[in-house]
Amino acid sequence: MSERTSKHIAIYGKGGIGKSTTTSNISAALADAGYRVIQIGCDPKSDSTTILRGGNDLPTVLDTLRENSKVRIEDISAVGFGGVLCIEAGGPVPGVGCAGRGINAAVELLQDLKLFDEYKPDFVLYDVLGDVVCGGFAVPIRDGIADRAFVVTSSDFMAVFAANNLFKAINKYAPSGGARLGGVIANSILAPYATSLIDDFSAKTGTRVVGYVPRSLTVAQSELYGQTVIEAAPTSEQAQVYRRLAQFISENEDTVIPRPLNGPELKKWAREWGDRIFEVEAGVVHEMAAI
């Protein structure tokens, strides 16, 4: 169906989980590896690409929403670190309007501008806001816009719960041309049980983890400097983590349709992990315990 050679990838995950940080670092790593990258922030907060642009202002796509203004790509984009083309969809101010409709309109506008035909990116990353609460926020995974979606999660239950919900959305749209799931990105790994927990959730829902990103001071510091880790600390171990993740995404195109857990299943799964963590705290060691 697609006459494009560029890969369109959507990144979803609970708000505050580190999606934009992760996406920006992946974009930076891909650009550093020589690819042409566009990152499109699909969040009315318009803060997806901040650390790629050193915090400079960027007019959003929806700022230019008029029937007949001759918008040029330069008006709504900025070239960030490594040559990553940064675009923010934008949206209404908090409490008014309909941001979901805004995402739809912004994506259509970018297609209308023939952005992808002209810029010819290797990768387009859509960083989509956390809680997909209405049809509009699913637009990047519908209608053949993104080929693949990745879901970012930590080991906190709320993040896993959100990931499970996102699997429901992917599950709904994948059969009619929507994006399939490339995998889970495990973020903010700190506690010893975190990787096992996320691995287990992924296995139970028919997918797998494609990268483990530890919680790191380097990330926090780079962000305070308004930069990605690739820019601020290019030789750090954390930068290597992002580079490996970017490499995996660029080389690996396997996808699945996930099998989200239903309410009772998720509750039971969570309880079991609650028990296991308690045992870790209490120093109980099971035979074959892979914690």
């Binding site: 006459e3 008029r66 029937e67 007949n68 203004s69 001759k70 309909c98 979901g100 409709r101 739809n104 297609q111 209308d112 023939k114 035909d117 209405c134 049809g135 509009g136 699913a138 637009v139 519908r142 209608d143 709904k172 749209y173 059969p175 009619s176 041309g177």
Partner: protein, 470 residues
């Protein structure tokens, strides 16, 4: 990128710089369109007007053995009634979205509607027309299309109008035509062209269509007419045609454009066949493109003589006429008025875009000061304009004739009136004769109070038309 890849075509404002509000001379209009960018206009006050959903319904309803589901709250399908009254339309239904549906999503309801209508009517095709509500809440229509297409084994065609993305209703025609070709034409590449020609007819009166078809038959042409009154199989035939002949350079233009871009079917440039010389020009364009120049000229000569005889020297000399119609229709009728010896005092057209530019340029060269008013449904502006111009005759598409008649101007409504071809000329002249002869009712109406305050009539007529400021 294939022109049919997207869910819907670009809106007319973006595709052809369409504007819906304007008042000025033909030469000013040409100047307006001569730059790269046309400044969009808005109305700071507007009476109710049409939207693209209404125009799309008009096309969906004309396909034979079809069912149209309007996926919307019940009010959005109300326009269907008007079309049902206008002629034998298709079966239509509304999913009647309620509050819960708009929140929880209504693809289940849509699935149920399509399935039950299929079982009840066994149509050849089901149309699903979107609406403002589902455009905003992004309700999922596509998965219903994909699933039921397989399950019921019939084409299900979604028409993604929004009702608000475009301010010019004619975008609705483009959107419906896009969907028809995308889902019904099939994927044949441009093979050897067959003998058929396409007659492109959108929202035309059946008698107008027949008149045009008769003329093509007299030229010995075999044709298929789309989309008016078409069968779904006609779209598959259309992609292998020798050429497309539009009955209007505007309304079916997108269909001709896509047939050319995707299937290599040449689109013949021809004016609307209205009036004696207008019809002759249409025939000449057809004849010249298809190697039938002599036949076309002979046919025109014969029918011209017959028509002129039947007009028995009728003349509009000394009468200034005001026209209020869709643009291509208005331009064509302008020529007819001139043909009958009259003058045109001004035009109101429903929208203006780059398709009209060649004709507009030519008009500006002849009549640089002719006033053009661009408006769809703005009776208040039209009444003020006509009152100040005080023409001897008004010819309109029916919507505003009652308001104009109250200004004691003889008025002819073209609603339900065939105007195309040589037959159209005699029919129209009959109506004009009557309007000019029987004036007493009009004069009586003129003594009733108009709904507009004198204060409005004192204002400049483009008081509410402003340039859009970014």
């Amino acid at each position: 990128m294939s022109p049919l890849r997207a869910k819907a075509p670009r809106i007319r404002e973006k595709r052809l710089d369409a504007i819906g509000a304007w008042l000025g001379s033909t030469s000013a209009a040409v100047a307006e369109f001569s730059g790269d960018e046309v400044v969009q206009r808005i109305r700071t006050f507007a009476q109710s007007t049409n939207d693209d959903l209404i125009y799309a319904l008009r096309i969906a309803g004309t396909i034979r053995n079809s069912v149209t589901v309007v996926h919307a709250p019940r009010g959005c399908a109300a326009a269907g009634l008007a079309h049902a009254l206008a002629g034998p339309g298709s079966v239509w239904a509304s999913t009647n979205l309620d509050e819960r549906d708009t929140i929880m999503g209504a693809d289940g309801k849509l699935r149920k509607a399509v399935t039950s209508l299929h079982h009840r009517h066994r149509p050849d095709v089901v149309f699903i027309v979107a609406s403002p509500v589902v455009a905003i809440n992004n309700d999922d229509i596509q998965s219903v299309v994909e699933e039921l297409r397989e399950e019921l084994e019939l084409p299900i065609v979604p028409i993604y109008v929004t009702g608000f993305a475009s301010r010019t209703a004619v975008t609705g025609y483009d959107t419906a035509l896009h969907a028809l070709v995308k889902y019904l034409a099939g994927s044949a590449t441009a093979e050897e062209k067959g003998e058929l020609v396409n007659l492109l007819s959108v929202a035309e009166h059946p008698a107008d269509r027949s008149e045009a078809e008769r003329l093509l038959r007299e030229l010995g042409l075999a044709f298929v007419t789309t989309p008016d009154n078409a069968d779904i199989r006609d779209f598959r035939r259309a992609i292998g045609a020798r050429a497309s002949i539009p009955l209007c350079p505007d309304a079916p233009e997108y269909l001709g454009h896509v047939l050319r871009e995707k299937y290599g079917v040449p689109l013949i440039e021809a004016p609307r066949p209205v009036g004696i010389s207008g019809t002759g020009a249409w025939l000449a364009a057809v004849g010249s493109a298809l190697g039938l120049k002599k036949e076309a000229a002979a046919l025109h000569a014969r029918r011209k003589a017959e028509t002129e005889q039947s007009l028995a020297g009728f003349s509009l000399a000394g009468t200034a006429v005001y026209l209020s119609l869709a643009a291509a229709h208005a331009f064509a009728l302008l020529e007819l008025v001139h043909e009958l010896g009259g003058t045109v005092a001004g035009l109101t057209i429903s929208h203006l875009d780059r398709l009209h530019l060649p004709h507009l340029r030519e008009l500006a060269a002849r009549l640089p000061d002719l006033q053009i008013h661009v408006a769809n449904g703005q009776a208040f502006e039209e009444a003020s304009i006509v009152r100040s111009i005080n023409p001897g005759l008004y010819i309109g598409d029916g919507l505003h004739v009652p308001q104009i008649a109250r200004l004691a101007v003889p008025a002819v409504s073209l609603e339900g009136t065939p105007v195309i071809g040589y037959g159209g000329v005699t029919g129209l002249v009959r109506k004009i004769r009557a309007a000019l002869a029987f004036r007493s009712f009009g004069e009586l109406l003129g003594r009733t109070p108009t709904p507009y305050h004198e204060a409005w009539f004192r204002r400049s007529q483009n008081w509410h038309i402003k340039q859009e400021v970014k």
